[in-house]
Symmetry: C2
Subunit: 711 residues, 2 copies
């Protein structure tokens, strides 16, 4: 790629971003779009009333939203959203710091050295047509002493990144502890999930749990709730709820004429309400029947609640029975975070599933590109002409054929890629996690490795890698191979940051898909339906995408520093836009207390070590074997640093220490509202589908906008 | 090696064993050897009185000891010794089962197949001169279908070994739990060791500990004892104790004439007692001075005792402070098991030391043979003649020179090898372990890898391996390399089992070194001194030696099954002899409750996987690629089995579950003697050198035979 081509691409994408921004700042002011651009305030205050008067201001693009997104302090953001959202924003702050520092060194020190090299032997005079490679390390002469500058830069940059990692880890840990201290008593703090209950013959599961915990936690045991297998019931209730909502909407229609018009297909007007009413009654009866029959379908798992946080922590941390595969305990998730359908209880089953998922995930990640390549091969011009002969005349046009050959493969890749996050969610839920947060966390890690493998390595080793998985059996050759292939892809990844990064983040602001859906809905139903769910951010697809840019930035820092300014722009935009979205669009669905951060930390450490390995190979290729050998301690030191961080910070993200637990428990002792809390606690983990129908619906009506359903 | 040579070697070693047995059965009846062969009963009942009358029976070799060693049931053994000793004996029982099963298949199925092969093309008629290789798998024809029998044998044998491993793990876990239930309240069950105490400025370490635990464990905290740095004091007190003992002996001499005779060097008889008395007073004064000055030398570590076992377990399992590197807790060892001198307290320091030890250990293990080879090279005949010219005439004798060239290298190797266990102990103690049991456990693992590398791999890859550590960077080639080299060494290892195994175990019975020491002592001092220590078994040097034979047996099971009968003989002898020694000679120094078993388990899993890797390579070499590929699932299944065992049993060996702890705590509540126990508990972890001098000596006099000092 030459410089002018890059500039063109930057220009086009900058234009696109500006277009999105302008459209956004206009569209968001239209009251009809409130549910798309400010669902949180709609859920809190109700939809803004549609003023019929024409307002010129509403058509002017303004940048007020930028200020409103920028202004709130981190504490205000925490109060408005969740600690997870704050941690999510810290990824951008951390990236800004890293790329800011790296950018200064890269652009002002490394770039000139690269540019003044003569290895690639390109013409000096024709600046705009200069290949981007002349800005990369490939242009430095073999064996040149200037490479020692790169060597020092790698050391300094690694040290700074490690310092920033340490600082950030320590900052987020302290926030996590502070957040715990400031939290009100919550059911999940007092509850553990027990699986693998060894039911004795002659006594029920419930009795066994009761007996065990009254015997061994006599002073702190409060109550328990058995988990039941409810997948069938879940389907029934969701059907019944749908009918119930339709009925409710029909009843509340202000203009009776309207509903006859819409439901006129049934003929008589009385029929409509009657029809739905009967259907609902039938369904409710079935649900009640199923609920009563379910009482027996226990899965030998239970939520056990205690009177204090410390007691719950004891139950989690110390092995319960003499057989470690029985009475397996873990911290309970928040009640609204529980993922009811997947409740595999047997230890062995979960273990086997975990292994299967690991294998499936690895296979999916490594072999993903093979089916994609095959489908892409099938969908070429000639094939299309055979399948759809009537398209022949259109396909013979040069423009159309060029568009198809140019865009069809990448369209197919994108299509396949969009299936991956849901697949990862399914795989994670098969592992036996019991909460959405754990499932999303598991999927987040899986997606990260998937992205790194299928975008980074697949591009770098372009094709051959798929058939060279066996290179892992010859680890000696890896640095050389990477050092050969990675710098060559520098210009591709710079273009990737500009096109994919900038556009994805600005389309995140614009919310293209929900906007179109909302428009279609209004077009067909004439009016927005009242029921809508506040979306929640899908950490499992967003975090890996952002972290991948981190991997790119760190890896290419000393290979092709030109990438860093573009990443800086990406991070700035991302910071503003995601802040805006978190404040206005996404409602927190759960609170893990920042448990996503360790993924960010590990990904950064991986990027550093990857950079070091490439550096080792590169200095070897560049005929500077001394630098290559002197590079070897750097990854070792980095891994040791990581090991230290694991010991110093990771435990804080796993559970809370005695100090915190006891202090909070003591605070509660003087709190008169605790009795009411204990009462609520004993039913907090009731499976929603098992609640009496009326009761569930009344709570549903209250909660649904704040606590949206499944992912 | 040819068959007749092997038979000769077997004959010689069998003769040696018989000689040792005969000598033992005579010598052990001599009352003067009681301290060598039955120190436990001497410590319990005092030395048997020397009868002057001549008794002919005492000179007859009898086998009564075999019966006495065989008879006690496992429960009796447990009562007489410790659970660790029982677990130690289980190694032999387990090995007997494995080699018994393997021996039947190997000798009756595999051996005939190997023998009937024609690959090595040796003469049939000359049976005694047949090479041992014709009994190994090398003799089976390439590509022969008979190899599928070996293939099946490998699968069946692995399955049986895994079943036995599972059975044994489960049996020992249940014994461990049963032993805990039957144990009396012990200080270590109620106590935790806290390190990394963050001392606030303005308050002492003791106050900080007191404040923390009274606040967070208000209902269960009992007391604490600070740890102090006492290495200087330790030297002083041991000097003082020596003088004290000499003085005590002098005073108690029945015949005053004797002591003048012996101590006559000093001239006047009054002087002797006076001299020692003064010296003791001086030393005691210094000790007292040092003790009082030590009060300030705290190491920010403390033993904290609780009122219940559960509270101690809570303190161990749940992170204490918000900083995981502060208030680091671990279960306290038994009071007599504490290793006082090494008390590094800082988290970072211990972590760095651990890393250093890992590196040092790996370096020692991998590079051990290099200095040995160099010294062996220096100690050749020519070199000796240059160094010691006066030996020239002796060295020129053929016999002498042959002995020297034949035995000197192996003598030097043995000399170097004998230094290794103490080095491993030092390395382990540097890791920051606080008890002898942990140190020995650490050293045991290190010794195991050391033995496997330096005896197995160094012999198999003979020399080249030292310079081929980089083979680890090309894992693909490993199976082929091993399959090529391992079967070739079969006859060497058969001879090794016979010479090293049989002899080592029978000389263990004979206790050569202690016997000689005791004889020399009696010869020079005329009479045994009263002070002696009951030895304790060094698990860290015995277990790896036995496990190494396990590695040999499992690895060679299908390569050269001829090794198995010899191993069976070794195990039978070992079972009897170690039972005898545990009952009569070695006193338990600590009780880990069978924590050594996981090492045995892991070593067996390693052997199985090693066998599988060799099999994969071997079937490849033998031109049976299908068998080679079908072998690949076996190591994977074995490792999965191991993973399952880690989940199912390992937690039981780490700590006791709530169920056990609470049940024992409840038993204690009705026990009236608990108050007295709590009183004792608060001083149980007093550093012995810090006790008032008189008090220490009186307890010393009681305890020393049962609780011998440092390893």
């Amino acid at each position: 790629m030459i410089l002018s081509a890059l500039l063109t691409s930057v220009g086009i994408n900058l234009g696109l971003c500006l277009l999105f921004f302008t459209l956004y700042s206009i569209l968001r002011k239209q009251p009809s779009n409130a549910k798309v651009y400010a669902p949180r305030s709609v859920a809190a205050k109700g939809a803004p009333t549609e003023t019929n008067g024409f307002d010129f201001d509403r058509l002017l693009p303004t940048a007020g939203w930028v200020k409103r997104a920028w202004q709130p302090s981190e504490d205000q953001l925490l109060a408005a959203t969740s600690l997870d959202a704050v941690v999510f924003m810290r990824i951008f702050i951390f990236s800004l710091k890293v790329f800011g520092f790296g950018g200064i060194i890269g652009v002002f020190v490394l770039l000139p050295i690269n540019f003044l090299g003569t290895q690639l032997d390109v013409d000096f005079s024709d600046f705009p047509n200069k290949s981007l490679d002349s800005f990369s390390i490939s242009n430095v002469d073999d064996g040149s002493n200037w490479l020692w500058v790169h060597f020092c830069a790698a050391y300094i940059f690694s040290a700074v990144v490690c310092y920033l990692l340490y600082y950030e880890y320590s900052y987020i840990s302290s926030r996590r502890i502070a957040h715990f201290y400031s939290s009100k008593p919550q059911p999940n703090q007092f509850t553990v999930l027990v699986r693998g209950i060894p039911v004795l013959s002659g006594s029920s599961c419930s009795e066994t749990v009761e007996k065990f915990f009254t015997e061994y936690y006599s002073s702190t045991y409060l109550s328990h709730l058995l988990v039941r297998r409810t997948s069938k019931l879940q389907r029934l209730t969701s059907d019944a709820d749908k009918v119930y909502r339709t009925l409710a909407r029909l009843k509340s229609e202000k203009d009776p004429q309207q509903r006859f018009k819409r439901d006129g297909l049934f003929g008589r007007k009385v029929d409509v309400l009657d029809h739905y009413g009967k259907k609902l009654d039938d369904l409710d009866d079935t649900v009640r029947l199923e609920q009563s029959s379910l009482a027996g379908k226990e899965v030998s798992a239970a939520f056990v609640s205690f009177k204090s946080r410390l007691a719950a922590a004891i139950a989690v941390h110390i092995q319960q029975g003499t057989n470690p595969t029985e009475w397996v305990t873990e911290s309970a998730p928040e009640p609204q975070d529980v993922h009811w359908p997947f409740f595999s209880s047997s230890f062995i089953k979960r273990w086997v599933f975990k292994l299967v998922v690991v294998v499936a995930c690895a296979a999916l990640t490594i072999l993903f590109l093979i089916p994609v390549a095959i489908v892409q091969g099938l969908a070429n011009l000639a094939q299309l002409e055979t399948w759809f002969p009537f398209l022949k005349s259109i396909l013979s046009l040069t423009v159309v054929s060029q568009v198809i050959t140019g865009y069809l493969p990448s369209l197919i890749l994108q299509l396949f890629l969009s299936f991956v996050p849901p697949i990862m969610i399914v795989l994670s839920s098969m592992e036996g996690y019991v909460s959405f947060s754990q499932i999303q966390k598991g999927a987040c890690t899986k997606m990260l490795w998937f992205t790194i493998w299928n975008i980074f390595f697949a591009n770098v080793l372009s094709g051959t890698a798929l058939y060279r998985v066996d290179i892992l059996l010859e680890p000696k050759k890896i640095p050389g191979l990477l050092a050969d292939a990675v710098p060559a892809q520098a210009s591709f990844f710079i273009a990737y940051v500009v096109t994919s990064g900038w556009t994805s983040v600005s389309s995140e602001l614009f919310r293209m898909t929900p906007l179109i859906f909302s428009m279609i809905k209004r077009l067909f139903s004439g009016k927005d339906s009242d029921e809508f769910e506040v979306p929640s951010i899908s950490y499992h697809s967003e975090i890996p995408r952002i972290l991948f840019f981190g991997v790119l930035g760190i890896t290419y820092f000393f290979l092709a520093p030109l990438i860093l300014p573009f990443l800086l722009v990406y991070c700035c935009m991302g910071y503003l836009i995601y802040r805006n979205q978190l404040l206005n669009v996404y409602a927190p669905k759960y609170e893990t207390g920042g448990k996503f951060w360790p993924i960010v930390h590990n990904s950064t450490i991986f990027s550093l070590v990857l950079m070091h390995i490439i550096a080792i190979g590169l200095f070897g290729i560049k005929k500077l074997p001394l630098a290559s050998s002197l590079m070897i301690p750097l990854p070792i030191l980095t891994l040791l640093f990581n090991e230290y961080c694991r010991k110093r910070f990771l435990p804080i993200f796993k559970s809370y220490p005695v100090e915190c637990l006891v202090r909070k428990d003591k605070e509660d002792q003087s709190d008169p509202s605790m009795d009411a809390f204990y009462d609520k606690l004993s039913t907090a983990y009731e499976d929603p589908v098992l609640m009496p129908i009326r009761h569930r619906r009344s709570t549903d009506d209250h909660n649904s906008p704040l606590l949206p359903a499944v992912v």
